[in-house]
């Protein structure tokens, strides 16, 4: 954390000379942050860091994260983040490496539980249900919140078994015909059926990178989730495969809430309706994609999207 603090202090000094508030690590209280959105400032004016600006609230919120903090051991990775996500949107999380966007994503399906040193505070609800509540089973949650990873990770099984894995463990199909049906529909929706329908018994690891990633998407939608989390799903793919995945995201967004972490500003601009900018564990700015890219309110956001922060 000391390193991050130093970077924060140095970086801030450089970018916003004379702003005393920036070097301070003390977080404002939850109330303040929640109200931070109303204090939208005019571009160019200095804004207290730690107060998210822009519309971090939305209409018909489905996922609501309130004052979420994540610690990895001594490292404070997510600082007091409040964000609402509605069911009919694609929201992109952007920000420099190590800013906590992947960590935040992994909070939404409790994948951080698998990391021993992780400690999460705050409240996240999914359709009104507290996902860190005592009566909620993280295993059941992960079936509702699917996840696609940075590197395609098909199981070393056949293409069919990869897609059928989820329905099998959750008992979604009662007989073979029903399972076949789920597998075909999922592959179809992932845009992969045409390419693989004659070789469903071949290993999934034998596909190309882009096909593997679409197989992983098919595998995810086969369990009929409500939300799909994507952690840099195209960073290991070539531009053509990337374009196919982006088209797919567009189609899937009709039925699923999609939260995507990406390092590509172009991708965020192409696929998302809203963009959230993270910086050193803080949610700095959230807004409509067009506004973020044409008229960012915060100096840090502007610096990032214009390429001044890597």
């Amino acid at each position: 954390m000391t390193m991050a603090e130093m970077t924060e202090a140095n970086g801030s000094e450089e970018q916003l000379p004379g702003n005393a508030g920036l070097g301070v690590t003390k977080m404002p209280g939850p109330k303040q942050t929640a109200n931070g959105g109303s204090a939208v400032a005019v571009a160019g004016q200095h804004i207290e860091l730690g107060q998210t600006i822009g519309d971090f609230r939305c209409e018909n919120p489905y996922i609501v994260a309130e004052n979420v903090n994540v610690h990895y051991g001594d490292n404070h990775a997510i600082k007091n983040v409040t964000l609402e996500i509605s069911k009919q949107e694609v929201i992109a999380l952007i920000g420099p490496s190590g800013c906590g966007k992947s960590t935040f994503l992994r909070c939404l399906n409790r994948m951080n539980d698998t990391i021993e040193s992780a400690r999460i505070t705050g409240k996240i609800t999914l359709g009104g249900q507290d996902i860190y509540g005592k009566d909620l089973d993280p295993v059941a949650l992960r079936a509702r919140v699917g996840m696609v990873f940075q590197k395609p990770n098909p199981f070393p099984k056949s293409i069919y078994d990869n897609v059928a894995y989820g329905p099998r463990i959750h008992g979604l199909a009662t007989d073979r015909a029903e399972l076949d049906d789920i597998v075909h529909t999922s592959l179809e929706r992932a845009g992969l059926l045409k390419e693989v329908k004659d070789r469903l018994e071949e290993p999934g690891t034998g596909l190309s990178g882009g096909q593997q990633q679409r197989l992983c998407i098919a595998r995810t939608i086969a369990v009929n989730p409500e939300v799909i989390l994507m952690d840099e799903p195209c960073s290991a793919l070539d531009p053509i495969a990337t374009a196919r995945i982006e088209d797919l995201m567009d189609e899937l967004s009709q039925d699923y809430a999609i939260v995507i972490v990406t390092h590509s500003m172009q991708q965020a601009a192409r696929v998302s309706k809203r963009v959230a900018y993270f910086h050193l564990g803080l949610l700095v700015e959230v807004d409509e994609t067009d506004r973020i890219f044409t008229n960012p309110q915060h100096k840090l956001t502007e610096d990032y999207i214009t390429g001044r922060i890597g």
Binding site: R144, M147, N153, F155, P156, Y165, T205
Partner: protein
């Protein structure tokens, strides 16, 4: 001059050569500041010089020490009177032995006479001359080699490449030692086994059901001519190995699953070193643990259930051997499980699998080839294990599958065959080599299969 003194002098000379070579290389380019003109770092010119001093000197030294005894003995024998020249090879050998002993000041067999003491004196004289010659030659050649190398130093001499080439040769030589030793062992076992098969037919050895290697030492002795059917030994080995694997595989596998997947870091930090301690216990300790603690316990437990248990039962030896193998199985399985990419685990968990579903449906199938390879290596370890079975399993070659009976194994029989006072060309002794060969072939096959499976497993991802 003693060879140790000679070697010390050579070492000192090589140190001098190193500094001389280094200094010359620096001096040639006009001081340390011009070092970049040299092809290699100055130290390499030093090594270059030292190596060319040592190589010829050590070469001649080794060759000399190898040939010296033969040459000197031949010279001594040639100087003997006519009567001695016509002695048989065995008697001449004895005489030469006496000469050497007398020269060294040791006790000799029989009386010392004029011829013997004369020969011993000449032996000493030849040895002294030989050593003087050797010292002169080695130091001379070394000095010459070093000087030539030193004079050849130029700024554009590729000293680093030359030195590395010689180091490479050294590495190759070192790595071939193990290979040639293995080949040598295999060949020697093979030739002795062939001699055995000249006395006993291969078919009897491989398919005979009776093992009783008692051969008569003298022609008039009462005793069987021995029977060498190895089947009871191999079934005994299989029985004990089977019992051992029955213990080691489930326990080791579950240990590995727990440590790799379920335990916290703290438990892992304690449990792993403890398992390594278990792996480090000498097998002889396991052996008396098996013979003195487990075997009586098995016997009592069996009797309380109404079974007739031999005091040296296959079960006791197998159980202890299984415990010995647990760390091997668990550490190999642990490696295989940890080699499954975290992405697989995340992918399964992200789909809503429980930990056990992730384990049984994704991680274990992916790690299975590695685990199987590990188990095969463990089996070959169990088959070749000697000390536990020598102490805890019996000597009776019973052809049985009853774990409560006493059985014997291939390794136990090899030990008993070779510790007896038999002549070395009797069928009984040679049988040990045939058994060793069979054992070697079996474990080699298992190792090859095991390693092949493990290697195939590595190609599964990426």
């Amino acid at each position: 001059m003693q060879s140790t003194t000679l070697i010390l002098i050579l070492a000192a000379m090589s140190v001098v050569a190193f500094y001389a070579g280094r200094r010359r290389s620096v001096a040639l380019v006009g001081g340390p500041r011009q070092g970049s003109v040299l092809h290699s770092l100055p130290g390499y010119y030093g090594y270059f010089t030292a190596i060319w001093l040592l190589l010829p000197a050590l070469g001649v030294l080794l060759l000399w020490l190898f040939l010296e005894p033969t040459v000197i003995v031949a010279l001594v024998v040639r100087g003997l009177p006519e009567t001695y020249q016509s002695l048989s090879a065995g008697e001449l050998n004895l005489f030469v032995n006496n000469v050497q002993n007398l020269a060294a000041g040791d006790a000799i067999s029989g009386e010392s006479d004029a011829v013997l003491s004369d020969a011993a004196a000449r032996f000493l004289a030849y040895t002294a001359t030989s050593r003087r010659l050797l010292a002169t030659l080695a130091l001379g050649l070394g000095g010459l080699g070093g000087t030539i190398a030193w004079r050849r130093i130029r700024p554009d001499l590729r000293a680093r490449n030359r030195v590395e080439q010689i180091i490479l040769l050294g590495l190759i030589a070192a790595s071939s030692i193990a290979i040639f030793t293995t080949i040598g062992i295999v060949l020697s076992v093979l030739f002795e086994a062939i001699r055995f098969f000249q006395k006993v037919p291969v078919t009897e050895f491989l398919f005979g059901l009776n093992w009783s290697p008692q051969t008569a030492i003298r022609a008039d002795q009462v005793g069987s001519s021995g029977s060498f059917g190895a089947v009871p030994l191999f079934t005994g080995t299989l029985l004990i190995t089977g019992i051992a694997m029955f213990v080691a595989v489930p326990v080791g596998l579950m240990t590995a699953i727990f440590l790799a997947e379920y335990s916290s870091q703290r438990i892992r930090d304690v449990a792993k070193p403890l398992l390594e301690v278990l792996a480090g216990i000498p097998t002889v300790v396991y052996g008396f643990f098996a013979a003195l603690t487990v075997a009586p316990w098995v016997r009592r437990a069996g009797e309380s259930f109404g079974f007739d248990v031999a005091s040296e039962s296959a079960l006791a030896a197998g159980l202890v051997m299984g415990i010995m193998i647990i760390p091997l199985v668990s550490s190999l399985a642990d490696d295989a499980i940890n080699a499954v990419p975290v992405a697989m685990r995340d992918g399964a968990l992200g789909l809503g699998s429980t930990r056990s579903e992730t384990m049984t449906r994704v991680i274990l199938p992916a790690a299975l080839p590695g685990i199987v390879g590990g188990i095969l290596l463990a089996v070959s370890r169990a088959i070749g294990e000697t000390m536990i079975v020598v102490m805890a399993a019996g000597l009776a070659a019973n052809l049985t599958a009853n774990p409560f009976a006493a059985v014997t194994t291939v390794t136990v029989q090899i030990v008993t065959l070779l510790v007896g006072d038999q002549e070395f060309d009797s069928a009984k002794t040679l049988a040990a080599f045939a058994l060793g060969l069979m054992l070697f072939v079996v474990t080699l096959c298992l190792n090859v299969v095991g390693l092949h499976v493990v290697r195939k497993y590595r190609e599964q991802y990426d």
